[in-house]
Symmetry: D2
Subunit: 362 residues, 4 copies
């Protein structure tokens, strides 16, 4: 019941996994931004299942622009974008309607909406809803590019396999080289093995995605409550399966002294910079001009085909559930463009609030 | 420039570290709630520096109720609470005005506010601002108690020392037994040593706080954007030095398979419960009736007395800064009531949104 | 750039006059409300041009439900509704693109959106956008009906013709008896003559609509800023051509003494009521249990075919404009359901805020 | 329960008529604006009762700046301002506690807050609350002046006496020449007689205030919902006793044809202007560069000393009430600076949203 986010650059999500469509409205995009269907389709396609690690439904997912763009440019009016649902098979959900799947939102939605929620395919809690996020993210990225900001996410951990650290330039050129969107090809191979093993067992694995915003000017963020970290975090938790977030040295900062964790300032090419970036580009909730760096953990997708204990909500007795639908053993790689989208959307909002994005562009 | 948080239970923060006062306005508290000065003073006192681990300023911090409470009960009007500042010594800040302290918000505030910000004592970015949070938190806790919800935080990690896991009942009875607010007395002793060592070296250490909400009914949270995780995270990042947050199994979920991380449902005393709580009480952004469990990491406080590299913002040259003011070598224990406050405030807001808290109480 | 309204019952408008569609998203409707296409279509049809006073475009305007309703009931998810545009003829607008029509938003949109706005048919400033309002209003009315509240608007003035005062029961049964939606048939005839005369001259006339909410319980409204009057007023000004609003005795209260304008309280059937209703059902921004009564003035529609002075925005010289498209000489009767819709939407929002509308219905 | 208004320039009101203080927080004021106590005190003094038409309480009302201003300039932090209450005599209210005064908010507050509201002196519904509005308005005016915008209100109607129309330049120089803030001295004398007569009879009269914003650039307003009219109207209805608002020709536009009410565009000094200003400077919810003109009606103040019928809320029986406290027979002149304040605050918000007011000033 709160399907809008952003103060000046606002997106509103709508649609269900097995309903007619999944869509989004973007309100607050400046007029004059050149946008093509391809700009948006490209991001939607990045979110699609990859054949070699996914057995999930395949849909054309053709982007439709319903409003807000005229003659190839944004008009300043709300932009409505959607993809129609075509390949939904809801039969399996009928059978398990009263058997909430562990780790899924079936039970909480049932309670909250008194059983009236559209439970088919997870309804509003499905990963499919993020197709709307990436459509909005495509616009946000285009807008950020116009002021020089780039957003870049990559897989850094799957199961217990960690990728080696890479610099942004390297990530940028290699991230799409493998299905896992991991900039370390050696780690990527090991990750793939782990996923394949989980898939063979009807099980699943999670992982960690790092997302970096480059060229963010110092001064974005509106403390004390609308901090850059706080609003990025809030945005990230709208992605199903995200259960944690950290900035810069994050949780590992407990292994450092203040003298090690503080980033010394220094002049670089006439500008203030920091020697290290343990702050993840944010001090006091405001960007400091260094790359903004966050990491989110994606829990192992709850969609597994192994039999699990659950309850029957009709009889209020213990029961079991077994789901033999289509699902991914690891959704981390598909979540990479979604994480980028939500970071782009949030930074657009702060850039507008800071007056860095003008009312009219182009 | 965004000093309000909450949709139906809203708090607005004001005041500066070395200004006249630090305060808060609570808007949306139901009428009829019995509140005494002591209820609020108690929480403010918990946030105060402890003599054995702190050399920071000592102030009476006497709570004043300026509005919204009449005849011992809330009136439904905005509640304005404040503590006057009395012991501020700003002289040290004059000297380092153009030398931003590494790890602090001095530089980002300077950029954002064009140098007009009140930099004394960190101004709005000071931990002292959280005196306002705990005053609001006192009201929020009282309100939550009226519907049976309890909030409970404790220190679980300082530096590399981890506390043993404890059940809520044990935490409740032991958490205030030591200065560190750690429910594991053995770990607490080791933590104290680490802090004393850091203090002796003019350095600092960070840590991790766990916060638990007990008896939260299923159904709180407003996905897809106002998720329970998202709004709790946003609230937590308004606490200075918080750089990461996780729910339930959080970042460690990458070391689990889906079959291990999913919490099986089962009937307990006629109600739906889960056998484990890897979800931290939240599925699909909505509470599931289990305890809501989050952990935040507090970076080592940037206030250290060791000389550090920085820049001179007037001359735009490299420089150094050394701060010999009063500061804590570890702020984690003092942040415990602040984390509780922000969790209480956020859950109040969701409880109001879910219609669980009535318009009039008592 | 602010196309959402409402705090807990929120509608988001999208679409353009000559774009692909006009639509709306309703977020915050409780789950379980029974809704049929007909419920919504009925309100859309009421807004359509009437053949005897209108020469405007005729479109089927078939309502499509894209999301949020499953199995005939709301699911708690955002409800997306739209009508496709089919009969738009944009050729006339090409010719007058740089000649802003007096009284229209052509010039202000041009300035605000740097000329990138979709100017065809007035774009976002067209009365056609209100098709979205009435779709949302249909849901809001259904929801209000479930708690006994009724919304009822009627035409009380066209040009200088005033309708005689009528009681709600009489208005209810007669308002749809004539094209003008005027409960006084004698006045309606005179109004029609005035409109026909204006139409013959290529000119237009305005009027006043009164809207009444019956059975509103005392206690709705959230002062000091979200007053019932304030939010109703804000909602009304989103209807093109509305230039004024008053509640109860409104502007005529200047002709009364306090002793005449105050409504004495009295007990009626065991309840507190007032002997008169000069307050229009609102005291201190909060409903008092009497009918909520407001009146809005609709300016003479700026769409006239008489030649008018204007400027050429390309050459920045004085010029003239003559518009021979399709237009209504009086939009007041068509605005009646729109006024009802915006009142219903606003009262829904306040009813949710007051906890009168539950989270789940039915 | 909604005591904040404004999206980027936000004010939060607190305090009660007979509580400790009346105050306001302004959040979103750019850093660097020079502000003195006198700037604010001046506006507070304008709102004070005038000895010759008022018997109400006299208080020093000395403005205190609690936060957000340092070294004579705004810091970008929330600005907290208040005046302490000193002269409140609550005894009269104890006696009439269960007898709601007709035309007042006593009854609606009683219902909404379950009798826990601070009823003394009208509590939050008292005109005294507007002392906070004018303090915030003082900051808003200063800010608007920095970009050339001026706000100017005057009394145009008291009872049935109408002032002659005056041009802004004349209003500016004469408005403070008489107690009534009426730019037409002849009308002012008649108005005074009417007020004196009402006062002698223990009765009251209302009136109309016109408020004009000069030099507002074209492009302010955020349709379709955050229209310039809509947000100005919402702001005005937060002033006690306002029951109607109109823009430009407003309600009188029903007496015009479209060809008369449309304002023809023309080039004036190289800029687009309109020959007339029936639109009140607003087209399609967006400013058009002409003066923004609104009028609000202030109902006869409900505070009269004549005996009135009411009910006893304890016994639920009919009763009477007679109030012999201090009150104004006409509050219109005192409301003039309040209307200015709320217009200034609203236009500041839109100017910030349009990017016209920078983040840092001076």
């Amino acid at each position: 019941m709160a399907n809008s986010i952003g103060k000046l650059f606002t997106i509103t999500s709508f649609g269900e996994s097995h309903g007619r469509c999944v869509g989004v409205i973007i309100d607050g995009c400046p007029a004059g931004l050149a946008i093509t269907n391809d700009d948006i389709q490209k991001e939607v396609d990045r979110r699609k299942p990859k054949s070699n690690i996914s057995t999930t439904r395949k849909e054309p997912e053709t982007v439709e622009i319903l409003s807000g763009i005229y003659d190839g440019r944004t008009t300043g009016a709300p932009i409505c974008l959607l993809v129609w649902n075509t390949d939904a098979d809801s039969s399996v959900y009928e059978k398990i309607k009263s058997l909430p799947r562990p780790g899924h939102a079936d039970y909480t939605n049932f309670v909250k909406y008194g059983g009236y929620n559209d439970y088919r395919g997870g309804g509003r809690s499905s990963g499919r809803i993020t197709a709307g996020y990436v459509m909005a993210g495509a616009i946000a990225k285009k807008l950020l590019n116009s002021i020089g900001i780039e957003i870049l996410a990559h897989t850094i951990e799957i199961g217990e396999i960690k990728a080696a650290e890479k610099v942004p330039e390297e990530i940028k050129t290699t991230v799409e080289n493998n299905t896992l969107r991991c900039a370390d090809p050696k780690a990527a191979k090991q990750m793939m093995k782990i996923i394949e093993k989980a898939q063979a067992e009807g099980d699943s694995v999670g992982g960690i995605i790092e997302c970096i915003a480059l060229n963010v000017p110092a001064g974005l963020g509106e403390p004390v409550f609308d901090t850059l970290e706080g609003d990025l975090a809030k945005a990230m938790f709208s992605i199903p399966a995200v259960k944690g977030i950290e900035f810069g040295s994050g949780f590992s900062s407990t292994r450092k002294k203040g003298s090690e964790n503080n980033d010394p300032f220094r002049i670089e090419e006439g500008k203030v910079a920091t020697a290290t970036n343990n702050a993840g580009g944010i001090l006091g909730g405001i960007s400091n001009g260094m790359p903004v760096v966050l990491r989110v953990v994606i829990k192992p997708t709850p969609s597994i085909s192994i039999q699990q204990n659950t309850v029957d909500l009709e009889t209020m007795t213990n029961s079991t559930v077994e789901i033999h639908g289509r699902h991914d053993a690891c959704i981390v790689p598909r979540a990479v463009p979604v994480v980028e989208a939500m970071m782009a959307i949030t930074i657009c909002d702060f850039a507008k609030r800071a007056g860095i994005i003008p009312e009219v562009i182009g």
